[in-house]
């Protein structure tokens, strides 16, 4: 039986540095800080040993500029990749891209030292893999099936206090608005706690559970998400937004339609990149096509030539073997599940998703400077939570950079002060579903929100649809959200996630409404042209004095010192 506590009686943890989300970024940040003697706590909703994107494995880590690729080349590539989603111009902070390249080798030393398996046993060297987008061998192929147990063990070895099965509810701020910790909830025992900290890094991935999961049963969590569903409920996005951080490009949701529908079997990473050979995209007739953007997808559909497939039949035997190793490294059970469906991984034509959105990846996130510090004092972000970041390599690098600053930062940061009246409000909100007898289950609510995102944003956006969608979200909030019900701590966790998914969806609709143009994969039927004046502008949602605001902000320029040293 769970009971609702009083704010004054809950358990209080104290530390200098709080890491929210114990994935690749979170563990790397925590290890680095703890090594330097900083008292560090990790809040992890699942179990650090198997949580986050790499919990079930990973086969490649990006990116380490080499082979004549300068840091400036790298930042150009890094930004270019985002043009697929957002169209021409910089839609993120280029200094972040620069620092990821510039510090990558330094970070790699740490990863080696901490025992992350970076080299291959057979020749004790890195296995350099060509980055499919960039065409250069700057990614490292890894056997990361067991990387998370290594990270979790290292965290404990260096004295990080790991609070598993404990999710952040909200961030705490002091009277000056500085972030000074978080409220937390144990998803198995139902226990509520407060973590006081001088600095917080949020690394809980992005938001993707606002779109349906490509199954006829909307509530199901399909492998489609690639990222682990627990971490893509936008917990960090929402918490950072609520304390005043800028949440960027919430209009440009991802529709990377080269995602494989049959992805239950084969994760995409191993096929798209490779040792110089890429998968071949083709239309329904088997005619080769280039990498399909959203616009091309539309044309293929209009010509009656969909679905689109990807094949790896042309791989030679050596690379077929290597690809199967990649698949197993990313998710060991894949080939077993594939066999159940009668797939031959070598000859199967992998059907791609139809042209649909599936959440936010890469181009959306919290605005930070190149030290991964947000606009809010005391708040840093890492990994996919950061605007412009996506993938485990950037996650590790960003985490190490944040961890590296903590000794100095915490030495002068203000002591945390807790506002217990606020904590009581959070407690009241978290436990309310326990007292609801005849309300809505969190999964039904989540399905409804996802379906509204699909129907009223979808691939082809228009003002009328957005207005209708917002109206429906508004009535959901009024009639159903206050009556979420839960009996177990697990269900209470889902209720908090649903709140975050809901809030992120509203920002998504608002941001889409504000962008009166089409660009990249953002397609508005009522504004079909790109507005070149918006190139190099980031859309930022921010809570100012309790009011939602959206503005287009000019993307920062690459700093002159980086332009000089990065050649």
């Amino acid at each position: 039986m769970i009971t609702k506590p009083n704010a004054q009686d809950v358990k209080v943890y104290e530390c200098d540095f709080l890491v929210v989300g114990g994935g690749d970024a979170g563990c790397s940040a925590a290890i680095k800080a703890a090594e330097e003697g900083v008292k560090t706590i990790i809040l992890e909703k699942a179990k650090t040993d198997r949580s986050g994107h790499s919990g079930m494995g990973m086969d490649h880590v990006m990116d380490f500029p080499r082979e004549g690729v300068s840091n400036l080349d790298y930042v150009k590539f890094f930004m270019g990749r985002h043009e697929l989603l957002g169209g021409p111009g910089a839609l993120m902070n280029p200094n972040v891209g620069y620092i990821l390249g510039a510090k990558s080798w330094w970070a790699l030393d740490h990863m080696n030292r901490w025992g992350y398996p970076m080299r291959w046993e057979d020749n004790d060297d890195y296995h350099w893999v060509r980055n499919g987008w960039f065409g250069k061998k700057i990614m490292i192929g890894v056997h990361w099936l067991d990387v998370k147990p290594v990270m979790a063990k290292k965290c404990r070895e260096v004295g990080v206090q790991v609070l598993d099965r404990t999710m952040m509810v909200d961030l705490l701020t002091d009277k000056n608005g500085k972030v000074c910790g978080a409220t937390a909830f144990n998803v198995r025992t139902g226990e509520f706690s407060i973590v006081k900290a001088k600095a917080v890094m949020v690394s809980t991935c992005n938001l993707a559970r606002n779109y349906t999961s490509e199954t006829p049963m909307h509530w199901k969590y399909k492998m489609r998400f690639h990222g682990h569903p627990g971490s893509i409920s936008g917990d960090g996005f929402n918490a950072c937004y609520k304390v005043g951080a800028g949440l960027c490009n919430m209009d440009i949701a991802t529709n990377w339609n080269y995602r494989i529908r049959d992805d239950i079997t084969i994760p995409f990473g191993s096929i798209d990149h490779g040792d110089g050979i890429r998968g071949q995209w083709m239309n329904a007739k088997g005619e080769p096509i280039p990498f399909p953007t959203a616009k091309m997808y539309d044309e293929i559909e209009k010509a009656g030539l969909d679905p689109i497939y990807c094949t790896i039949e042309h791989f030679n035997d050596e690379y077929q073997r290597r690809n199967e190793v990649c698949i197993s490294d990313e998710r060991f059970v894949s080939l077993y599940l594939g066999a159940q469906r009668g797939f031959n991984p070598k000859t199967h034509r992998y059907e791609l998703m139809e042209n649909r959105r599936f959440g936010f990846y890469g181009l959306s996130g919290v605005f930070t400077d190149e030290n991964f510090k947000t606009d809010v004092e005391g708040l840093f972000c890492g990994g996919d939570t950061v605007l412009g970041l996506g993938g485990c390599g950037s996650a590790c690098i960003s985490g190490i950079i944040v961890g590296d600053q903590m000794k100095e930062y915490c030495a002068t940061a203000a002591e945390p002060e807790v506002d217990y009246a606020h904590v009581q409000d959070v407690i009241d909100e978290v436990y309310a579903p326990l007292f609801e007898e005849d309300g809505t289950e969190p999964m039904e609510m989540e399905s409804s929100i996802r379906y509204i995102n699909d129907r009223y944003v979808g691939m082809h956006i228009s003002e009328g649809k957005l207005k209708e969608g917002l109206k429906r979200l508004g009535s959901l909030k009024k009639h159903f959200m206050p009556h979420l019900m839960a009996k177990t701590p697990h269900d209470l966790m889902r209720c908090i996630e649903v709140r975050n998914i809901f809030d992120g969806s509203v920002l998504h609709f608002n941001a889409c409404m504000e962008r009166k143009e089409s660009r990249g994969n953002f397609l508005r039927n009522d504004y079909p042209e790109r507005n070149p004046e918006n190139d190099n502008h980031i859309s930022i949602c921010r809570l100012v004095d309790g009011k939602d605001t959206i503005e287009l902000m000019r993307a920062p320029e690459l700093k002159p010192e980086y332009l000089e040293e990065g050649k």
């Binding site: 179990k47 079930m56 682990h228 077993y336 999964m443 966790m493």
Partner: protein, 66 residues
């Protein structure tokens, strides 16, 4: 259809599956065996399957993911 099945005869109750499931969808029954409690929330990551020292977990894709 049960998508994650545990063979109790072989299970040694080591709880590796229950401890590590990233979606927290397994629970422990009165006899101390783990079982899939939240069927719809399993995402087929295979972590329980690959961590089980007795190989007594089977994962099957349901019709809705075909």
């Amino acid at each position: 259809m049960k998508v994650v099945k545990i063979e109790n005869e072989k299970c040694i109750k080591c709880m590796k599956c229950y401890d590590n499931c990233p979606e927290d969808v397994l629970a422990v029954n009165e006899e101390g065996y783990p079982y899939l409690k939240y069927e719809g929330e399993c995402w087929f990551c295979g972590i329980c399957w690959m961590n089980c020292p007795k190989r007594c977990i089977d994962i099957k894709l349901p019709a809705s993911l075909w």
